[in-house]
Symmetry: C2
Subunit: 264 residues, 2 copies
Amino acid sequence: MDTLTREQTEAMTGAEARAHFRAGLRVPTVDWASRYAQTNLISVPKDVAYDLLLFAQRNPKACPVLDVTDPGSPTTVLAEGADLRTDLPAYYIWRDGVMVEEVTDATEHWRDDLVTFVIGCSYTFERGLLDAGVPLRHHELGVTDPMWAVNIECRPAGRLSGPLVVGMRPIPAHLVATAVQVTARYPSVHGAPVHIGDPAALGITDLQKPDFGDPVPVGDDIPVFWACGVTTQAAVIASKLEFAITHSPGYMFITDVPDATYAL
Amino acid sequence: MDTLTREQTEAMTGAEARAHFRAGLRVPTVDWASRYAQTNLISVPKDVAYDLLLFAQRNPKACPVLDVTDPGSPTTVLAEGADLRTDLPAYYIWRDGVMVEEVTDATEHWRDDLVTFVIGCSYTFERGLLDAGVPLRHHELGVTDPMWAVNIECRPAGRLSGPLVVGMRPIPAHLVATAVQVTARYPSVHGAPVHIGDPAALGITDLQKPDFGDPVPVGDDIPVFWACGVTTQAAVIASKLEFAITHSPGYMFITDVPDATYAL
């Protein structure tokens, strides 16, 4: 395949981007289909689906549920014709809370009893931030935003517990208030930040060593932290969940839903 | 008990109001504890709890879940010291989708396998409407707002399906836009209206004959319709659910959470 330019990948629809990933392309989705909502994905056996749905309800900033499939179904109302087993650029396969394999096609790991949760992602409000003049450093670098499992415990549900995961964006000080106001308008895709300006208060000791994603220089900016859907993966780890399939952090599912749909 | 004035009931905290209802007082909650969030309530057996949680996720305008209890538990994080079996002024007991009894104390019907859902109520944004100068006719009359099961089907989940239920408030034409803007700021308690101005389009033939609640004259106002948590009761009926306990429409659970908490 010829190399695609950023202009080309950003201009795609969700369906066009998914076709590339279905064909096997493995790249972070940060600069893809920039008008369409990207999401986290987690598939768990039916017998733990209630606990996960309740965990999401009890931790809605981190785990805003946009769709839940019927058991075994690889389709979602959010993307016509999409196959959730193949249409993400990369998946993690989890056993007993350990990530045992990264794959670009999850078909051979799929099971008839898997219930798949499509969970909102903060990428959805990034167009809103850029339109408001807020620079996004990880976009400038073409990398995934850095994420940490922090010292705030989620409210448990049944077998599931674990720490909150946050994503960080460095924001110029005079634009922090703007960033709060813009993202607050997107409550179903993480909404306003959970923390601003003090990484140590969250237990983060080195902003250049994220738990997930890529390091992004902060410079004179203020580090601003939003709740992140990777919180579900931290719960898989902390709860030693028997089996799960998730997206690889930064390698998201891209829907057909315009980002603006989730703005108030 | 001495008769309480509207000023007295409106000024109460949630805990003060609940104490009256726990003692057996059976009144609509429209003019009670006006600074605190009121909610819908539905308790179902554990084996249908996943279907109900999924039904709520798939129909979030009508069924915004604010808390879910552990099986058998009569307590909620939303109201310290509250007993969900006794602290509402009136309950409906449902068997096979039929309301078989109305009680002021649900203790004798409680079961160890009941999971209770606390679901947002549009009363939570009424203070916001009043503060913005939007008159509320059912408050002026001291009655419950009128509600209808309409011709819009909810998205089903497992064993649960049924029609959307809406509540109607007559709004002066020049204030309809204000009412939309104010209520849109409360997405977790039904948010913006689902329909404005055309009852026939919803299949409503007589605005003076509601399916639930009380009739309220419309006069020269515009009828504005918001999604309503009584949708869960319509699902109990349509799905012929074996057993459920709910609040009586208009006789809500009052929490300790200030209304303003749910405003963006």
